[in-house]
């Protein structure tokens, strides 16, 4: 059997390494950080971790409906494609910063991309 994407990336340790970098990048980005005002940071970091675990192909049972529900409020506040793109940028940027191989980064990006319609409530 070949290793899963999650295993190739380094499993939970890799997710943990990515969370801080990713979340810091997102909070630093004036285009999107207003969506993260007034949220509890620990709660938010736990969510980021769940998201990254999913994007890394790790164990999760997120459904499209969960994604919709979780972002419905943000969509009301104006969340759109440009914001989704910004997050995608930070996702790849994070993985590059961690020196992960390009083909794996591509696979992660593809999984994350597959949530776009649900996240944006379309």
């Amino acid at each position: 059997m070949t290793e899963s994407l999650y295993e190739q990336l380094g499993g939970e340790a890799a997710v943990n390494a990515a969370v801080d970098i990713f979340y810091r990048r997102v909070l630093n980005d004036y285009r999107i950080n207003r969506f993260f005002d007034n949220v509890d940071m620990e709660e938010q970091a736990a969510k980021q971790k769940a998201f990254l675990t999913m994007a890394f192909g790790g164990p999760n049972n997120y459904t499209g409906a969960d994604m919709r529900q979780a972002h419905a409020k943000l969509v009301k506040k104006g969340l759109d494609d440009s914001h989704f793109d910004a997050v995608m940028e930070h996702l790849s940027g994070t993985l590059e910063e961690l020196n992960l191989p390009q083909d794996l980064i591509g696979q992660v990006a593809a999984i994350a991309e597959s949530t776009r319609e649900d996240v944006l409530g379309r």
Binding site: L27, M41, E42, A50, N60
Partner: protein, 328 residues
């Protein structure tokens, strides 16, 4: 494997072999918040009241939570019968006698009590103090652990604050109080003596920080320790001399009292404590950060500390305690 009995409050639930505890509880219509069901979101956190939970069920929790026997229900396959609680159980573990009251500044009183039984706590944790009629408030322990059964607290007097007004005016040396089990995650963890520490507190938020600092210094902490204590005016500061003399004794301890309003003062920094701190210290990668005081300050500082490079797992703040002791 056998079926395990799980006691939660008044209810007993049977957990089947190979069934995560979360599922057994939900099956019995017990409301447990949950999300990912795989240990990532930590929303299903519960606490074991009798003994250690299974180690796998503590996966990913902060060290402090582990030590206090918190665990995640979705990862928990009970190995024995368990008694569990939603979060903090509010049992009062001991009683105490008031030993001394002393004003530290016009608003804040140091209250010293001696407990009937020794308490196992960490510097920076808090306890609930309960008056005879049940009125209860949380206060941080302001001393380190070498004090045996003596605990001291900084009680800020708030107009209309029932407990604090009573403690200031009526509570007498010799009176008795009930004391809860020590709680809270904002405390000093020994083990990384080289790590730099940043502590930011406002008002009586100095109490837990002072406890943490004396514990750290006592423990031989070698990293730099920076304390920023702030208040709106001069009256709100206290222990300035104590902290200054500590600074003289320990080369790695740095103290900055801050004042945000009123007359400028030559030997106090001007501005709010966290603003002064983050202006001085801009690179916090690898640092451990403790935050105590006003909830807005704590929330803003958490973010700033994180942005300056501190890892979230190295940022300690206790929102509950902040809400109940420093604000009232």
């Amino acid at each position: 494997m056998t079926v395990r009995k799980i006691k939660l409050d008044e209810q007993t639930v049977l957990c089947q072999p190979d069934e995560p505890l979360l599922d057994s509880l939900l099956r019995e219509n017990i409301e447990i918040s949950h999300g990912c069901r795989q240990g990532a979101c930590q929303s299903c956190m519960l606490r074991s009241l009798k003994g250690k939970p299974p180690a796998e069920a503590q996966h990913g929790l902060k060290e402090g939570l582990k030590r206090q026997n918190y665990f995640l229900a979705c990862l928990c396959y009970p190995q024995q019968d368990m008694e569990i609680a939603y979060s903090h159980h509010r049992d009062y573990v001991t009683y105490a006698t008031v030993k001394a009251k002393q004003m530290l500044n016009p608003e804040i009183m140091q209250l010293v009590i001696e407990t009937d039984e020794g308490l196992d706590y960490y510097a920076g944790q808090f306890v609930n103090l309960k008056r005879e009629d049940g009125l209860t408030r949380s206060y941080s322990i302001a001393n380190h652990r070498m004090h045996g059964r003596q605990l001291s607290f900084h009680v800020r007097r708030l107009s209309g604050g029932q407990f604090s007004e009573w403690a200031h005016q009526e509570l007498q040396v010799g009176d008795r109080l009930a004391v809860s089990e020590p709680q809270g995650l904002c405390y000093y963890q020994p083990g990384q003596p080289e790590q730099n520490l940043l502590l930011i507190g406002t008002g009586s938020g100095l109490a837990p920080l002072a406890g943490i600092i004396s514990e750290a210094l006592h423990d031989g902490h070698r990293g730099d320790i920076h304390l920023y204590h702030g208040s709106s005016d001069l009256n709100g500061l206290y222990w300035v001399e104590e902290m200054r003399s500590l600074q003289q004794r320990y080369a790695n301890f740095h103290y900055t009292p801050c004042i945000s309003r009123g007359e400028p003062n030559p030997d106090k920094a001007r501005g709010r404590a966290h603003e002064v701190a983050f202006k001085d210290l801009t690179a916090l990668k690898g640092w451990r950060v403790y935050l105590c005081g006003h909830p807005d300050m704590v929330a803003a500082s958490k973010r700033q500390a994180f942005m300056a490079g501190a890892s979230l797992s190295d940022i300690y703040a206790d929102a509950f305690h902040v809400a109940s002791s420093s604000v009232d």
